[in-house]
Amino acid sequence: MSNISFGAAKIKALSDLLRADKSVVVIGGAGFGGLEHSADVRPMVEEFRDRVLETPISELGFCGMGIGAAIAGLYPIVTIGTGSFAFEAWPQITNEAPNIHYMSNGGIKVPVIFHAMCGIRISGAAQHSTRPQAMLMQAAGLQIMAPAVSSDVGPLLNQVRESERPTFWIDHSLLFTEKWEEHGPTPPLGKAAIRKAGKDVTLVGYSIDLVRCMKAASELEALGINAEVIDLRTLCPFDKETIMNSVGRTGHLVVADECYPAASVASEVAAIFSDEGFGLLKKPIKRLNFDAVPVPANPGLERELMPGVEEIVKAAKDLVN
């Protein structure tokens, strides 16, 4: 644990980037953190006024703008707001940005990063709670970040910048205020991290679900179950090795993923063990996803469909006992 929240770390990292390099620009204004946290974001916007373009309600237009600015040599940080609005810009995010470097046989670089607040935010209802990450994994050429711990934010942002790859950064509405810091070295871009070592069961999460896995892990300790927790950190590249090595030791796997079940991040994790990881599982995996139902406005109904710490703990117990 630490004193700096994920959101504060995010704003600091962005500000450092803006301060360090005049070619870094922000398109979309005070989107980071969503409305709830716009006050925290404002100072950054004010400090770098001349390099912040506050846009019309035109996601398709301003995400395309980010791509064009990147081609011209700027480093645009495009903030989309709620993850659902990435759908408005889907043609630019999934069918322009990821293809341009390849279509020019490497002649053109598109170092743009899109940020959006995704996920089940409690009463975002059906249209403001989307989790676009699994869909984005189907856009070859697009890099996808989904960190969970404060201490990852700065290093990851810099690694992404250096990678010069078009990137989508998955933020989570509930992650902003979470305080979780890791000490010791940050893994290289594309590697998952073992956030807690354990021998009985492997818990895999990313973004807000990693926080839930950590909370579940401590509850499990109290029950005498020693869980290992893996933070995927990035969804593309996708680090199968770290997951396989862990499951090789524990034989048990729970994956927590807010996506809908079919063709989800959890599906990809599960698929490993019918494939390269064949034979490593001692028991069937527990895939915890949001049920295949539009997200209801009522928090109780939402909770009913939504796997939380409780469900992770229960799944792990069922596996180990």
Binding site: L60, A125, L301
Partner: protein, 342 residues
Amino acid sequence: MIPCIPRDELLDALRKMMMIRRLEEACIIAAHEGKVPGHFHVYIGQEATGVAVASNLGKDDYVYSTHRNHGHLVARGADPGKVLAEIETKATGYAGGKAGTLHGCAPDLNFPLSSGIVAGVIPISTGTAWAQKLRGENAVTAVFFGEGALEEGAAFEAINIASLWKLPLLMICENNTAEVERKPGQGHYHAPNFAVPNITDYARTMGLTALTVDGIDLGAVWNAAAEARERAISGGGATFIEVATYTWPGGQWPTLATGITDIRHAWNGEIPEDFKHCENWFKRNDPIFSVTREFIAENIASQTEIEELDAEVRSEMGKVVEFVEASPFPSPNTARTAVWPN
């Protein structure tokens, strides 16, 4: 201006406006008690628009709205109890707590949907209008959206379609930032970032009949809606009505920034101590006050009659709040119902 309709209809219109106001006040109070989950948007200051438009629609007409849908629902004749219940995601709401404030609907009143996606509902409304035209019905579709929606390509595509096929569509653009200067790069909430200073120039160039009316002028909106519906039904195509209102001080995270409405402020010229900074609201921008003043001036109703009407509405809203309070939250076993018809 006062619509040329019988007195009882005039009073009914004011009554509906008051009902919307009291519902939104109740909504804000409930929200501050933590009873409104999620982000919500109120219709205070725009009541005349919803009521004037909805009063001119027939029961076979369709109505679509946005994140700011509470007032449109009540104006359409929705049960305020079921509206507030849905806002609080109670089982007794129109959608059993599944829609909430963002997605208000009243299926039995041909009010199918409010989309929380800016401009999302506009293309949908063109399809409904097209269906009505294809079947040669004497019915139209009305779609409400804010001026910010015009910044979305979705609105453009829908306007182009509505214009090309002369659809029986009333496009009600509620410009609730009428006083905001239009310059690029405005960060604050729904600041206009639209290159056309006069919104209607855009709609007119796209081939629509377009006009601007004042959102505190019940009669002006009323007549515009009546003519637009007539035009739509007689094959004259879609009309784009910009209804201009000034930004209500209650802001993006609604608070009772102009207090609980005291109808007597309509005529007694007083501005309560705490709201001296909102003089324009009391003197000009509150459509309920302005309509009330007109009614009194034109002897449609006396101050006493207005106060009685107001009291009636307040007591009805009192019952509404009790009903919602007493309503249960949806049972968890309804979470998986109504995903598909069959």
